[in-house]
Each structure stands twice: as C-alpha cells, then as structure tokens.
Subunit: 417 residues, 2 copies
C-alpha cells in the first residue's frame, strides 16, 4: 500500500469513527480516558522499552541533548500523561450543550448546540507525550484524531497508541477514534493536510517553520500558533511596585515560552524612575538588555534595532523602548506585536478601559503578567495550543475550541409563510 492509500484508509476510518463518537455518552468517553490511564500505568515497562529504542536511534543519529530530553519518556513524563488523562476525564463535556434556545415570532424554537468538529489531524515533533495530550482533548470533545508525530518518536508513539486502543476498547468505542500514523514517510503529512473529505481541522504543534509550511500547503482548515511577541507597557499612571513585579515576572519566570514578554514599553515620564531598578534586577537574572536611544540615556543596554522589536527571543534577552504615552505604546504594539498577549500596567481607569478595547491581541491584560496567558491559568483545564488566528478560536484552545456550534430548530409542523 502506498502512502496516499494508507492515509486515505486512516482518513476513512477516522471519518467513520467520528460518526460513532459523536453519539458516545460522556460516560463512555471518560471510561476510555481512564482505561487508557490504567493501560499506561500497567505498561510502563513496554513504554520504557519502546522509548529506549527511539532514544538509542536518536543518539545514533546525533540528536542534540535538548531534543533527546524532549524525546524521553521518563517515569515522570509517564506520570504526567496519566494525570493529564484523569484531569481531562474530570472536565465537563462540551458536546451537546444547548444555548440561546428561544421562540421566534414564527413559533419555531431556535438554539445552538455545541458539537465536535469531526476529524482532527495533529502534526507534532519530538515529544511523545503530546500523543496523549492531543488524543485526550480530541476524544473528550467528541472528535476522531489522526496523530502524526515526529519520526524519531515512532516507537514510543506506537506503544502509547496501543494503550489508547485498549482504553477505547474497554469503553466499547472504535479503535479508530485515535489513530497514530505508523509510517515515517514525510509524504504522509502532505496527504493529511489535503484530505478535505476526511479531515476537518489540522492542529500543527511545533516550531514556526513547521507551522508556516503546513499553513501554506494545507487544504484543510488550520488552527495555528505562530509567534508570541508579547509586550508589557508601563504607563505613567502605573503603580511602580506592581510594574516592577510584572515586568520582572513576564520576562524571567520562564524564557522559552510564547507568553514571555519580549519587549518592555515604558512611558517617558516614569522611565528614569523605574528603568534603573528594573535593569539591576534583570542583570541579576542574567537578562541581556537592548534599548532605544532614550532607554540607553537612562540605563546600560545594547542598541535595539528594528529587527529586535520584531523578534521572539525565547531567551534571556529583552528589548526596551521608552514611549511618549499609551497611544505611542499602542502604535508600537500594532506595528510589532504578533497579537498574542499584551499587558498594560496602570491605575488609570480610562486608559485601562481603552487598552482592553483597542489592543487587538488574543489576550489583553491590565496589571497582570503576560505569563498568565495559558489554558490552565484561564480555567480551560487543558489546552491543545494557543491560537494566533483571528477566526474560530483565539488564544488558549481547550475543549471548546475543538468544537463548533450548529443550529437546532424545534417545531410542531411549522412551515414558512
């Protein structure tokens, strides 16, 4: 069987399974999730053995330490997968929720029902635990899933897939509700993102270049996560103690994450007061500072150029710009932000109200660290990613983002006049 036929078979099976799982009860779906958790627990040795092959191949193929670290299914990573499954089982089922059901003048009742998207294709890189994260969210939201992980994790992913299959079987659900692509042929990705008849949505998880390539080539809709060039703006009406804490936390709490601040904007009137103190704190943490001219008049910093404003460092590097006021800050954000997350620090009611209304990013904050932009912090329970798209789901995408709403109409023989 060639790759095209193989993928079409997976697609047809997923479509069929999606038609079964849409009618699965919440209890059945939860049972499948919990039985999968039990299967992971019972098969720790088999998982470790499969992962050992991937790790050995990885070392032989010269994967770097960071990649090997992500590839490893340590006991702690397996614990995390088991916990994750149990947490998703405990979340409310989004499917079938009916809202806004009301009578129309014609006599019909019209409402909206939340429904699965159908079949979701997930394309990801080395981490095998994504197999469980993605499968559990898609399953709970009533979708069938086709998972295409990195070729370096193929043995780990197959072993995890066996556990999922046994979980689905225990709940009486079709095994094809979750399918792992078992070929490492790269053409499989091209097929997956083009099978409009079988796949409703693609969620790519990985680096920017992977996501851009998939978005460009996909015929199927993509829920995607590109950069996080996040800003904190310290207003001249800010409480400078809050500003200090937020600016420090947003940059230094973790560096390699999309919701870390990459550029700090400071109102000119308070720059001389806040920047020296912040600069000391950043330097203590080992953060490299790059600034505009006005910044460099106040603190020691390298020159920030236009490229800096447009860069997601994902590293202990921060660019700083002194701006005249909030309007200038919003202008900077409009020009350079990736529309992920921006925060204003201010005690001024009217400015906070305007910032929240006018800044067009997936998360907009007042007096809070950008690090809060996260599905767990927002109460979604879990997230499949953070969308930088403007339609469908924006920001952290949880179970609701993996569903849509259809219209339902209840009548009693009603006809159009």
């Amino acid at each position: 069987m060639n790759v095209k036929e193989y993928m079409a078979t997976l697609g047809q099976q997923a479509r069929d399974a999606s038609r079964r799982i849409v009618a699965a009860t919440t209890g059945e779906k939860n049972q499948a999730l919990l039985a999968t958790a039990d299967a992971l627990e019972a098969n720790r040795e088999a998982l470790a053995a499969a992962n050992a092959i991937d790790m050995e191949n990885g070392r032989a193929n010269g994967l770097d330490a960071a990649l090997l670290d992500r590839l490893e299914l340590s006991p702690k990573v397996i614990d995390g997968m088991i916990d994750g499954l149990r947490q998703v089982a405990a979340l409310p089922d989004p499917c079938g929720e009916i809202t806004d059901l009301s009578y129309r003048p014609s006599g019909i009742q019209v409402g909206k029902m939340r429904v699965p998207l159908g079949v979701i294709g997930i394309i990801y890189e080395s981490r095998p635990n994504v197999t469980i994260d993605a499968a559990s969210l898609c399953l709970k939201s009533g979708n069938a899933t086709i998972l295409r992980g990195g070729s370096e994790a193929i043995n780990s992913n197959k072993a995890i897939a066996e556990c999922i299959k046994s979980g689905l079987k225990a709940a009486g659900l079709p095994e094809a509700c979750v399918q792992v692509v078992e070929t490492t042929d790269r053409a499989a990705v091209g097929e997956l993102i083009s099978m409009e008849d079988y796949v409703d949505v693609i969620v790519p998880r990985g680096g920017k270049s992977l996501i851009e390539r998939i978005s460009n080539d996909a015929k199927v809709a993509v829920i995607k996560h590109l950069d996080g060039i996040c800003h904190v703006y310290i207003d001249d009406k800010a409480d400078l103690e809050k500003a200090f804490n937020i600016a420090l936390n947003a940059k230094t709490h973790r560096y390699g994450v999309c919701n870390a601040m990459e550029t700090l904007l400071v109102a000119e009137a308070v720059a001389a007061e806040i920047l020296p103190r912040l600069a000391d704190a950043y330097r203590d943490k080992g953060v490299e500072l790059r600034g505009c001219e006005k910044t460099r008049d106040i603190i020691d910093a390298a020159v920030a150029n236009d490229e800096d404003w447009a860069t997601e460092y994902l590293a202990p590097v921060l660019s700083i710009r002194v701006v005249a006021d909030m309007d200038a800050a919003m202008d900077h954000i409009r020009q350079y932000s990736s529309a992920h997350t921006e925060s204003i620090v201010t005690e001024d009611y009217s400015r906070g109200r305007r910032f929240i209304a006018e800044v067009d990013s997936s998360s907009v904050m007042i007096n809070a660290s950008t690090r809060f932009a996260d599905g767990f912090e927002y109460g979604l329970g879990a997230e499949i990613g953070i969308s930088t798209d403007k339609i469908h789901a924006r920001g952290p995408v949880g179970l609701e983002g993996l569903t849509s709403q259809k219209w339902i109409v209840l009548g009693d023989g009603h006809i159009r006049q």
Copy 2:
C-alpha cells in the same frame, strides 16, 4: 499604478481604518448607517443614472434577462437598501460584549470580549445591493471592508460607495472603513484573497464555481457557502399531516434557494400512505419527481440515480428515496448531504433527540420546514451568508459571525508563581 499596488493601497487604508473603527462608539456606527440611508434617499436620481449605464452596457454585452434583473437598481431595490441600513442600525452592537468574566484561583479575573475580525473582503457578482448589505453588517460589527463587486455593476457600485462615504463622513469615521474596488481588472480578486497582512477574512458571495475557485486560491481565511443539498426525513412515527405540509413547503415555497429540500426520505412503513398524496400535490405545483425503485413502485416518477442524490437542483425537481428507518435515513444524509440543513418529521421523542444530536449539519430540525434556515428567521436581524464551513461560524452568519472573541485578564499586580 498597477493592480498589485492599487490593492495594497486599499489594504493598508482598510487596516488603518479598522484600527479607528474598533474604537468607534455604537452611536457613531449607527449614525454612519443612518446617514448612508439618507444619502441613498437623497441620491436616487444619481443612483438610477449610474445604474442605467450598467444596464445599457449589460444589454450591449448580451447579459441574459436573469442577470439584468439582478443588476437593476429599481426604486424598490433602493427602498430595500435603505430599509436594510435602518434595520442594521437598530440591531444590538456585538462589539465589546464581555462574557464569562470570573475569578481564577490565582486571583486574576478572566473573561472574553467580543471584537471585530479586522478587515473583511467581500467578493460578489452582479447584485449592486449586496454592496449595502455587506457594508452595513461589516460596519456595525466594527470591521473595515473592501468590496469587490461584479464588473458589470461597477458604475452602480461606485455611486453607492459615494453614499456610504458621505455617511461615514457625517459620523466622523474614516471613508476607508468601506472601500469599493474601482478597477474591473480580474487580478484585483487574486490580490484581495492573498493580502494576509491587510485582510483577515474573505466572504465570497455567488455561484459555487466562484466560491470554489476563491477557496482554493485564498491565502486569507474564507467564510464560505457552498451547496445546500437539504433533506426532509418522514419517520414512520410522523404525524402525516405535519409531514405533508413540511415536505410540500420545504420544496415548493421557493425553488432557487439553498435551504429548499432537494431530497425527500420516507420511512418504508408510511411510504404507501404519504407518497401518493404528496406526489399529487407536487405535480399540481409542477415539480418533477425522481425516485428510487421502491418510490417508483408507489408513485409515477423518473429514475433517480446516484447523481440525483448528490445534486442541488435549485429548481422544481425533487428526488425521493424510501428508506428502512431513521438509521438508513441518517446514512443517506451522511453520504449525500452538503451539511446545510436537515429536518426529521416525527412524534417520537427518542428519535428526535438522536437525530438532533447525531446529524452533522449546520441546521438540524424537528418538525419544521428546512426553509426556516435563514438569518432573519433565526433572529440574527440580517445575514451575510450561510456558512457551510465547520469552524468559526456555521449556518446563517450575522453580526456575531463577523466578530471573534479575545481574552481579557484583569489583575492587580498579579504575577505567575
């Protein structure tokens, strides 16, 4: 200036305008809509004169009667545009609505705010009144719009655009909130659907081939409406009086509309009772019947083949299939439906409950005519189209479908622990 530069200029202007209109008050937007209505009223002669040029060119170019009919800006069509503007002004403003604002354990408050999509490109064919329909919905929902109408309507569209400009001016909003593409060069469409930096969503309105071409080529997200192959299933537990009325209304109320029934499915147990009566009524209305073998055992009908089940007739033609039961009906719907609208006629509670839950169409009905699938009937006030996509907006798309939701976070100096 070449087309690429021209379109990029429109795009940049639209992006700038969208940043102004996102902060416009509901009052300003309503004022612009009402002032546009007044301008249409005051410029009836100029509109008629511009339209006369298009009509004359159309006749010279051999446009058929149906196209000329759609192209004409009769006094009645102008009345409709004026009414439409006033109705949209009267609708609630979707922008800025904050929902689900609640405290998280960390102390932050998290909620969702409804926001415009940004810049919407509308591509449509001959009807010049779409210019007003689309512009008014986009304006009310806080979006900037670039309108690309059919070249045969260019003079009418330019004249309408002047009225919109004066309306925007009266409200103090930038004229670039609504821009009509003033070149008839076909390359303009290609540019419009590719300008990812300037355009957030494309809404094509027109025939299936136009929409398919645009969907295939677009780099920007598309909210699209493809076929409406709608079904009514008459269950053996149906009230046959209701079934008769609904089946007749769904087919014969109007023929050339997407929510008209194209295939009637009838449970075998009641086929002999209901079909002869229905066949007589359809024949009285001049509807051509095509049926499966079992149908043709009961009534006179041509042979329906596989192509019939997959065809949106948009004409007084109906295909009829006798099925064993609701499961067989749902199987048929899964195979042939375009996922627009399906209705079951039944008095059986459990079957109705299953049909609503399991049929994956944008509108699913019990005991109601498919003709109700419409933005006005659903209470949206107006619609820009009926989406057959599964993500973002499904079914009738009104103001809400032209918006998205961003996350807002309100804190008091909160940082991640």
